[in-house]
């Protein structure tokens, strides 16, 4: 038994097994990155989504309405890796597409960078950044910083102050991913999912407005 998610591809709803959904998100995230400098990125991504939707359609019948992980793997293989223009030679090596796209969601973990995380800290994000760097819960880092004030007669405060000044702040998603040692790949997927759900929220809101308008027009006072 598999868990199923509903996804919207180019404006149509599909039922995907969860790993299938992850694979498509990862493919689109890679495509988005490959096209990061392309002025038509949004349009191409939509075309790709539409092509994936068309390919998925053939797996659906009256008695089968869920796209499986294997089917999506096949679709992704058929689509081939997305490359922007001048990337030499790779265009015809369709067999390598599998290897590239089988990497999955995670990508290679990166080395962490020590950065402040102001958006997550109480003051400057020094402790939050150090916690992310050391992979320790921020609460323990804060506690250590406060407790160390006593034996040092408050001089430890200077350590915090110096770090506040010399440790750079992570502000963009890329920097925050670097601070945690996450690959941007995984982070992009999460970002994309968040954007998608925001869109759905907007669509729902405009749908509600339509309903409200219809009700008003039907039952409202006539002029």
């Amino acid at each position: 038994m598999n868990k199923v998610t509903v996804v919207s591809l180019a404006g149509n709803a599909f039922h995907f097994e969860e790993p299938a959904h992850d694979a498509v998100s990862a493919y689109l995230a890679r495509a988005s990155r490959a096209l990061s400098t392309n002025p038509d990125r949004a349009e191409i991504l939509l075309d790709l989504e539409q092509a994936i939707a068309d390919k998925c359609q053939r797996f659906l019948t009256k008695h089968k309405n869920v796209i499986t992980a294997e089917e999506v793997a096949q679709v992704v293989r058929e689509m081939g890796p997305v490359q922007d223009g001048d990337d030499d030679a790779a265009a015809f090596r369709t067999d390598t597409g599998h290897a590239t796209d089988a990497q999955g969601l995670q990508g290679t973990p990166r080395r962490r960078r020590l950065m402040r995380l102001p958006s997550e800290g109480m003051m400057g994000g020094v402790c939050a950044g150090l916690g992310a760097y050391l992979d320790i819960d921020v609460v323990w880092v804060r506690l250590a910083f406060v407790l160390l004030l006593f034996p040092t007669g408050g001089a430890w405060f200077l350590v915090w102050l110096v770090m506040l000044i010399i440790v750079p702040a992570a502000r963009t998603p890329e920097q925050m991913a670097a601070a945690r040692g996450e690959s941007l790949n995984a982070r992009e997927v999460v970002e994309m999912a968040r954007r998608k759900s925001a869109d759905i929220g907007k669509a729902a809101a405009s749908g509600l407005r339509d309903v409200e308008r219809n009700l008003r027009e039907t039952f409202g006072p006539r002029n």
């Binding site: 392309n38 223009g85 030679a89 015809f92």
Partner: protein
Amino acid sequence: MRFLSGPATFLTQGSLLGAQAVDLGEKFISVRKGLLEFAVLRVVAGEKLYVAEVLQRLAGTEFATQEGTLYPLLSRLRRENLVDYEWQESDAGPPRKYYRLTEAGQRALAELQGYWQHLTETLNRIGK
């Protein structure tokens, strides 16, 4: 060097290479990559086609490619004003983008063909 005798024969008779095609395919990979644009322009020169049809025409030739390559390429050709598309309703599913050659695209294709002709003539002439 028979297979270099012209664009049309190159496109249709490439499979004559048969067993050697593996090595030559690898060797000429950057040539084929460079010529993909040429092949796509030729394919859409004849008629209005949508992407799946373009892929179909190229499948089984040296220029077989995939959506991941073709969409960015078509989008660049459109930016360069060589192809254009129009939306057309389809019986099965959502409307599709049908691509066709623009006038500038026709000129560019004629130029490419002339240059290709020139290259093959040069190759046939030298070293004999």
